[in-house]
């Protein structure tokens, strides 16, 4: 491995190195120092990716390269990991989650995510996405004191293992049909098309699990509810963007096939409709956000199925925006939770007034998720529906927009709890003081939501470079 190679994959090395350092040095350091080391490393990986000049330079490494897509994805992943780490330090202390393995696992996840973003080979790609899942199995069940965390981890593991097997089989079929593992646009010959399309069919099923598209969504609410809030933040952003990126990278491998249009259409339709309708009925905020996540992935699928450059571009932008919105939402939940998590919606009554900063962030996240300008959520939805209409999916786009209008109701319900309801009976427990790390993380997420919403040109430029 030459120096050029090392520089190109520096984010991967930083994440892996920091993860090992945290594990090895962990027992000898204070919890706070470990957290800060992890935060700095995770942020450094992203900053490196942003400033690295030699995008697309040839490297001698097998199966890895730093492409325009890497330059877009790695900062997103790194931001998700950094904010998760910032949010979880105090959260974990309040909840009695001990040990440096938490930080190390988050960094390992970041490592796998960065590998995924740099993958140029089918096997590396598969290994990366499964390593991401593997790390998340651990993170979800890391709250050893609580049964629901373990239960969530087990559910996620079982579902994930099935999905992994399906994806693996799909990939092997695609390999059998095309005869290469390189993601360089080796298109399948006509003779083997049935094999390749069978492979794609399986990949779509596997992706449906990972993105939790209806009808493969049933695990999501339980896992989100059971997982610690910062982990749910990371899970709902990192793993989703990873799955979408996985799909996009595979598309570079073989042309979008007409056969996957119908399944994707149905998955998108089902997710948008059922996700949003089910979210209406939820009384627990994390379950509500889980169904909201299902619905949002339905929007992603809508853009994916257009099979157009604009569609893919919309998917990536939405992925980034969704990351900011969900980190803000789950981050505020994490910060407002004490030793017990604030799950029920009624536990948020009046918090907009008693905890103005975090209440405002949570409200902002809700308005963004509902797609109200000038937040980035509006721009993301605008791009998705624009790409869909441009790609000829007008009917599904209109259905999507109608469901988006319905979704405003349950997002507003949270805002109503925060600002407009009087507590019935005993007022909810006053939240503890927000810590500087939490405030920093929430501020970053909020700034991202507003900045991308008002001035998206810079991120759109990176995005255009990513898909070149």
């Amino acid at each position: 491995m030459s120096v050029t190679d090392a520089l190109a994959i520096m984010p991967i090395l930083i994440a892996a190195g920091a993860a090992l350092l945290v594990l090895l040095a962990g027992p000898f350091l204070q919890a706070r120092s470990i957290s800060w080391i992890a935060v700095v490393a995770a942020a450094a990986a992203g900053v490196w990716a942003v400033v690295y000049p030699a995008v697309g330079a040839t490297v001698t490494l097998p199966g890895l390269a730093f492409t325009g897509l890497s330059q877009f994805l790695i900062p997103v992943f790194s931001a998700a990991a950094t904010l998760t780490l910032l949010l979880s330090h105090d959260y974990n202390q309040r909840r009695g989650i001990k040990g440096e393995e938490f930080q190390a696992t988050v960094l390992f996840t970041l490592f796998a995510l960065c590998v995924l973003a740099c993958a140029t080979n089918l096997l590396i790609l598969f290994l990366a996405i499964e390593s991401v899942s593997f790390a998340f199995y651990i993170l979800v069940s890391l709250d050893l004191e609580r049964e629901e965390s373990g239960e969530a981890g087990l559910k996620y593991l079982l579902m994930g293992a099935v999905a992994a097997a399906i994806v693996a089989f799909g990939i092997s079929l695609i390999f059998a049909g095309t005869g290469t593992l390189a993601l360089t646009g080796a298109f399948a010959p006509e003779a083997t098309r049935p094999i390749v399309s069978a492979g794609w069919g399986l990949v779509v099923i596997g992706i449906a699990f990972k993105l939790s598209l209806v009808p493969a969504h049933l695990w999501t609410p339980d896992v989100y509810q059971g997982a610690p809030a910062p982990v749910a933040a990371f899970l709902s952003t990192g793993s989703k963007v990873a799955a979408a990126a996985f799909f996009l990278l595979l598309l570079a491998f073989s042309r979008p096939l007409a056969e996957i249009h119908l399944p994707l259409y149905l998955l998108s339709l089902g997710s948008m409709v059922i996700g949003n309708l089910a979210a209406l009925l939820q009384k627990n905020i994390k379950r509500m956000l889980a169904y909201s996540s299902i619905a949002h992935m339905g929007y992603l699928a809508l853009a994916l199925l257009t099979g157009s450059r604009e569609g893919y571009s919309a998917v990536l932008l939405y992925g980034a925006i969704y990351t900011a919105m969900n980190l803000a939402a789950f981050g505020a939940i994490a910060s407002l939770s004490g030793a017990e998590e604030r799950g029920e919606l009624t536990a948020y009554t009046g918090l907009g007034h008693t905890a103005p900063f975090r209440g405002a962030i949570l409200a902002l996240a809700m308005l963004a998720l509902a797609g109200i300008p000038p937040t980035a959520g509006f721009l993301g939805k605008f791009y998705i529906f624009y790409a869909a209409i441009r790609g000829g999916e007008t009917t599904l786009a209109i259905i999507g927009i109608v469901t988006a209008a319905i979704s405003a109701y349950f997002y507003l319900k949270v805002v109503v709890q925060l600002y407009m309801r009087e507590p019935e009976g005993a007022a909810p427990a006053a939240p503890h003081q927000g810590t500087p790390a939490e405030s920093l993380a929430l501020t970053c997420a909020a700034v991202a939501i507003l900045f991308i919403g008002i001035y998206p040109s810079p991120i759109l430029r990176v995005l255009d470079a990513a898909l070149r």
Binding site: I372, P373, I389, T394, I401, V402, Y419, S457
Partner: protein, 496 residues
Amino acid sequence: MPTDFPILTLLVFLPLAGVLALFAVRKSDELVRMGALVVTLAELALSVWACGAAGAGAGAAGAPAGFFLYQDAQWIERFGIRYTLGMDGISLVMVLLTSFITVIAVGVSWRGIKERVPLYYALLLAMESGIQGVFLGLDLFLFYLFWEAMLIPMFFLIGIWGHGRRVYSAVKFFLYTFFGSLLMLVAIISLYLRHGAQTGTYTFSLFELIHTTVPYGTAIWLFAAFLFAFAIKFPLFPLHTWLPDAHTDAPTAGSVILASLLLKTGAYGLIRFGFPLFPEAARACAPLIYTVSVIGIVWGAWIAFAQRDMKRLVAYSSVSHMGFVALGIAAWSPVALSGAVIQMVNHGVTTGALFALVGMLDERTHSREIATYGGIWGKVPALSFFFLLFCMASAGVPGLNNFVGEFIVLMGTFKVAPGAAAGAFVGVVLTLIYTVRLVQEVLFGKEKKPLELADLSVREGGVLAVLGVAAIYLGVHPAPVLDIIKVPIALLTGVK
């Protein structure tokens, strides 16, 4: 004033910048109130200053015909979205109305709002920014952004400081308007794509999109989406059901802003975007708009007659009065359209004043029931005088403002659609009946309960006097306003 001075940007964002100033003094409620008043007065001064540019008469550089102030900059290149603000006569009138009514809104909230004062005034100012943006944005994306963004402050104003079923009303208001807007977004995007496919330039600029060739069958659908969004805001029958709830449960200033300004954004949208973008489809839909506006005029008046709650009564009278605006727009002749714009201003002044009055009575007795009052003329002469004045204005008594608007609208409409004008006239008669009943029961008649009533304070008197002067001025001398809007209306209707 240097020619490149960004006065329009300042008009839109000054109130929002004022929010930061309020944040700095948030510890003292009194300072917050003063700050809000200063900011809204500065905004009013700025709007009046903009009149000077209108008087100069010259078109701004690079601006479309009729626009004397114009600003255009690259914003989101990727989609051809530009930051385009422009002011013609119609925008100017609306901007003036907005600045004026927001000062009034600050005035009527002075004593009524005692809780969470900084947040309240911050939302009020944010609201003003959003509304000014709607009246000035000429890029459809920018317009849409302001159009939706202004919902948020109003949602909070109703939900936090409202009365009764405030949360229900706030959510209902939000969802109704949000739903309508999203369908308009689809229409905007498809118009944008069609224009891009035809010309190769992808743009949201209104004056480019106007030249898009849209087949009639498609245009009808696109216009329907625009009409739906604007008709909800208007509100046109049968999409008006959010309005009585929202108005009734909103705090006084919220009702004032809703009635005087938010409803106008719907009418303005139809004038600026709906009709010019799809002229044929709009003409084809005109009979439909006539029908629903006449139903709205008559039905609103009829229902207002049955109300026991004064705020609800004024709310339904809004449905009725806004019907005239819709009627004038649908007729789309220079006379009718001028009438519609004048009526927008008049309704803003009169209904705003009536909501303020009901709010003042409510602050004194905590009751908005007509049955509570009776014979208050002798007790609170100043308040009663203004009550009578604005009720007469609302009833369309000649010499006061509403008469001018209704008369011009009916005159213009009669030439194009005599049947609709005749139907609307029935509404005028009904309006007279319910306002006379209101005046008779509240001001005169017997005292039903002994009430402890104080007459107007200086602040309240000032607010009402300013509105009263506006009502009388517009009633006897509407020519300046008609002059300002003459050029843009001639350009819009294509009649010189």
